[in-house]
Symmetry: C2
Subunit: 190 residues, 2 copies
Amino acid sequence: MTTPRTKEDVVRAAGRLFAERGFHGTSMRDLGSELGLLSSSLYSHISGKDQLLVEVISRGAGLFQALADEVGESEGTAAERLHHLVTGHLHILVEYLDEAATFLNEARFLPAPQHDAVVAMRDRYEATYRAVLEEGIADGTFRSDLEPHLTAIFILSVLNAFARWYRPQGALGSDEIIDRMYRFIEDGVQ
Amino acid sequence: MTTPRTKEDVVRAAGRLFAERGFHGTSMRDLGSELGLLSSSLYSHISGKDQLLVEVISRGAGLFQALADEVGESEGTAAERLHHLVTGHLHILVEYLDEAATFLNEARFLPAPQHDAVVAMRDRYEATYRAVLEEGIADGTFRSDLEPHLTAIFILSVLNAFARWYRPQGALGSDEIIDRMYRFIEDGVQ
DNA sequence: CCTACCGATCGGTAGG
DNA sequence: CCTACCGATCGGTAGG
């Protein structure tokens, strides 16, 4: 009666467990029983535990990259572009909470090549925030005494912590939180 | 010639490795070789791996608790008390970076009783921030449209992320970062 | 603090 | 997807 699991199912379940218990705190047997399988059955879908981490994280990473590219090419004022970055980032977190949490907490356990790629990607992503801040400082939208490098880190700190404390069943809806968070950030830069 | 290791040495090394590789990513053999010992020799200093996590985290937790108590009893304006909380928190992070990182990332792996205690402690700690924000909203120091619960979370998000990205060898000194971070937060509330 | 272990669990494979 | 495994490593103990 139950349909066979797909690779998609396996990667999604891995994201859930890696987010909750960490990569090293999740065994292949844990993952199997989450799916109603023995651990040996997982290897027909994936080549190993490391590859599973790579797949989970690259899903999250790809979405953030796409957002940065989109904003990089977009027209609009610095404030509009910052708003786009902030709300886009938070919408990704809401929709891919497990992948994002795994990305943020477990990327250091990636095999070296993929780990390097993630670090480079995060640097480019931060550079997009920096560029928008510099643009807004230059045209007077943002405060002239802002240090773009640190300010980008502070903004991303507030955004990424969302993945650590937000729970969909919580009292506050994500839209209200996103709205309040953007205003907090806006007040810190304008 | 080498002096014997103390329990203090063991706990400090555990903090370093737990911060770097995570609790489940650190084996007792890793910890032993960090200290030039066999893993079996560790058990004359501590009762088990779990206890080591408890000791590392309770050091960090105790410092934050002391700060909140201090500010809770202190005189001064809301802005002064917030400044005390923010800079005090960051100074703890700078001085006990490994313990704080372990506290922030690995507390979920604590045995249930200690995990519950940490959750309760963090709630009380957040409540101190909330109380200071409410005080400042009431007397007009802070903006009247702030939501104290969310704002406390946003502030702690920026503060705690510091432990994830700050490196003592980095280009910026901790004092300049602390100063800039306080101003970012201040601008978000005033 | 070391020697010498222990049972349990780990990621993973061969073969069907 | 399961049966039946494998060698390596895990946290931990007994005894000195």
